[in-house]
């Protein structure tokens, strides 16, 4: 059975060019970049080149980048550094739809005495900057808002938000794990202090991430150890991962246009056809202000996990914001923050595409989804034989 992979916000295929770039650093060039000998030292040179490739994608200076192990580490490092370098400040502002890498950390910090403000979003998942303005206090150490949402793709106005924070002398961090490679990012044109990237979301390997730290920003390392990364992140470099990420960023710059033309077109086709063919379905999140690859659709009166498992039988991979898939009893915090009713949230499916997806795959999914939903609705006590929702529930 062929796999149709529409779960690219969870992780992506390593690009063949990236894999080719990485392989020599496992097999032959396994030296430690910190070593004195040429055998190791030549790896250090390749890491420098990768740093330049990543910097080029972001419009950053190479020395502004700290390689980490993942997006979560980058997020944790950024927020903890802000708190360490501004020890007198005890307030953090985030949104209600942040990734767990930020939200769970802030919950943890709240137990240690930090005050957390979670900004609301509207029914389309958009952030109102007025709410941000009102939340900032002289005690605020850092604002952390994601650039593109992983579940809905909704884009936050982070550049304007960073300006607002800066005017009050507050640090600004953004989790750009989903946005990087999908929408243009140019750090020369904004005042964002710190930004997180994850390699495996843009066709590099798992186990590598980046934290951008603007030149002049005080930084306190999260991992303390050797002198690597200019003493901003101890630990022997993940040389193959970093070199692969460099290549992936180079490819992302080339593919950015494709993401916004052909990937967007496929996403739109998938979305429009599913909405047309499946009654009582709707999109979660702002249709315009969105990453080009993501659509989050709710199918009312059916449950997300059951949908995913039937899709799985056909080799179609996606994910759901239903409670049952998370192990908790409540559906996705993102959909709840948007006020999506539980009846809709339980049946939400996220499709996230990449440049490797084809029109044939989209057509296959368009053909297979309606019978899946129909089959489950046929079992649902809330759906009567006439194919309509029972109104007494």
């Amino acid at each position: 059975m062929k796999t149709i992979y529409f779960d690219n916000n969870a992780t992506t295929q390593v690009a063949p060019e990236v894999l080719d770039a990485m392989l020599p650093y496992f097999r032959d060039l396994y030296g430690n970049p910190s070593s004195m000998h040429t055998f190791g030292g030549q790896v250090g040179q390749k890491i420098r080149a990768a740093r330049e490739q990543v910097a080029a994608l972001l419009g950053a200076l190479p020395e502004e980048l700290v390689f980490t192990s993942c997006g979560t580490e980058s997020d944790n490092s950024a927020i903890r550094s802000a708190l360490t370098t501004r020890p007198e400040k005890k307030h953090i502002v985030i949104s209600r739809v942040e990734h767990p890498a930020v939200r769970a950390l802030c919950t943890h910090l709240s137990l240690q005495g930090y005050k957390i403000t979670e900004l609301p979003v509207d029914k389309n998942g958009n952030l109102d900057l007025e709410n941000l303005e009102k939340s900032l206090t002289p005690d605020t150490a850092i604002v952390s808002l994601m650039w593109g949402n992983n579940e809905t793709g909704v884009i936050f106005p982070v550049e304007a938000a960073a300006k607002m924070a800066h005017e009050k002398g507050i640090l600004f961090h953004t989790d750009a794990v989903q946005a990087t490679g999908k929408i243009p990012i140019n750090m020369k044109n904004n005042v964002i202090d710190m930004l997180s990237i994850s390699g495996h979301k843009l066709h590099a390997s798992k186990g590598v991430g980046v934290l951008y730290v603007r030149r002049g920003t005080k930084f306190s390392p999260f991992l303390i150890g050797g002198h690597q990364e200019k003493e901003r992140r101890g630990g022997t470099e993940n040389s193959s991962g970093i070199i692969g990420l460099g290549k992936a960023c180079e490819l992302a710059a080339i593919n950015m246009e494709k993401e916004n033309t052909s990937v967007r077109r496929l996403r739109n086709k998938l979305e429009e056809e599913l909405l047309k063919r499946i009654p009582q379905s709707r999109v979660n999140g702002d249709i315009e202000n969105r990453l080009p690859n993501t659509t989050n659709i709710s199918f009312e009166y059916v449950e997300g996990e059951a949908i995913l498992l039937l899709m799985n039988e056909l080799g179609i991979c996606a994910s759901s914001g239903s409670a049952c898939t998370s192990g908790s009893l409540q559906p996705s915090h993102v959909l709840r923050a948007m006020g999506v009713p539980f009846t809709m949230a339980h049946g939400s499916i996220r499709f996230s595409l990449s440049v490797y997806n084809t029109e044939d795959e989209v057509d296959f999914v368009i053909e297979k989804m309606p019978p899946i939903i129909e089959r489950l609705r046929g079992m649902s006590p809330f759906w009567n034989q006439a194919g309509q929702a029972c109104t007494n529930q």
Binding site: Y301, V302, E303, G304, E305, A306, L309, L310, E313, S322, A323, C324, T325, G327, S328, L329, Q330, P331, F342, T343, H346, G378, M379, S380, P381, F382, Q393
Partner: protein, 274 residues
């Protein structure tokens, strides 16, 4: 991804008895759309008052659908009294087990069954004297008590896994804890089963590890099992205990007392000759 058994997957992909029986003898609807799972059960009896047919309609995840399918298969051919004895554990066992977080799916089946039988008998929908504890998911104290007893639940999290109670706003966690404490404090009616020698030796070791050794270690002492002959447990005292003048009292009043209480009243403890 959930670790479902093949049987769960099979019942999810090919559910038995989907639908609704017209003019059923018993009918029940439990759960709700907001909860994330809901089940409508209908059954019909034959002339001998046995369940001739049972059908379900379920909104929910794979394990909710599989549990409903299993339930209808289990109760077919039973009298309603026999069917009432089917527990949520029976449903889970029929499916080769369910992940902990999904046990509430089997409880949902059990609840639907009870309500359908009540409907058949014309009894009130809610158990007499039952009180809603979890407002978010509409779970009563009686349901929580029963889940604790039948599945030997120990924590609020267990109760949430089995009944959903406490999985919403969390406002009822204290109330659930109180129910757990109350049920735990109930005297156990069951008598201790007869142990085989191997079971007894294991139980002695376990009791010493969990109940006795930690207390001794707290005072800098320890104890080692040298041999177990019938009901004679021969031990050597170590650490601070080996030089303690009160060690004889420790052995009889503490070690032997605990083993008599937790393993068998016939146990005696002796110190190995030094």
């Amino acid at each position: 991804m959930w670790e479902y058994t093949e049987k769960v997957k099979e019942h999810f992909l090919n559910p038995r008895n989907v639908g609704e029986i017209e003019n059923p003898d018993g009918v029940a609807e439990v759960g709700s759309l907001a909860c994330g799972d809901a089940l409508k059960l209908t059954f019909k009896l034959d002339e001998n008052k046995r369940i001739k047919d049972a059908k379900f309609k379920t909104f929910g995840c794979a394990s909710a659908i599989a549990s409903s399918s299993a339930l209808t298969e289990i109760i077919k051919g039973m009298t309603v009294d026999e069917a009432l004895k089917v527990s949520n554990k029976d449903i889970a066992q029929y499916l080769g087990g369910l992940p902990d977080e999904k046990m509430h799916c089997s409880v949902l089946g059990k609840q639907a069954l009870e309500k359908a039988v009540e409907n058949y008998r014309g009894a009130p929908a809610m158990e007499a004297g039952a009180k809603i504890i979890c407002e978010c998911f509409g779970v009563t104290d009686k349901e929580i008590e029963r889940a604790i007893r039948e599945n030997n639940l120990a924590t609020v999290e267990d109760v949430t896994n089995y009944t959903k109670a406490g999985g919403g706003c969390g406002g009822c966690h204290d109330a659930i804890q109180q129910i757990i404490d109350r049920v735990k404090a109930e005297p156990k009616a069951e008598t201790k089963p007869r142990l085989t020698n191997i079971q007894k030796i294991r139980l002695i070791e376990e009791t010493i590890d969990k109940e006795i050794r930690p207390s001794l270690k707290h005072d800098g002492g320890d104890l080692e099992i040298i041999d177990i002959i019938g009901n004679r447990v021969i031990v050597a005292l170590r650490g601070a205990c080996s030089t303690c003048k009160a060690s004889e009292i420790t052995l009889k009043d503490f070690v032997e007392h605990r083993l008599k209480e937790l393993v068998s009243p016939d146990i005696t403890v002796e110190e190995a000759s030094k």
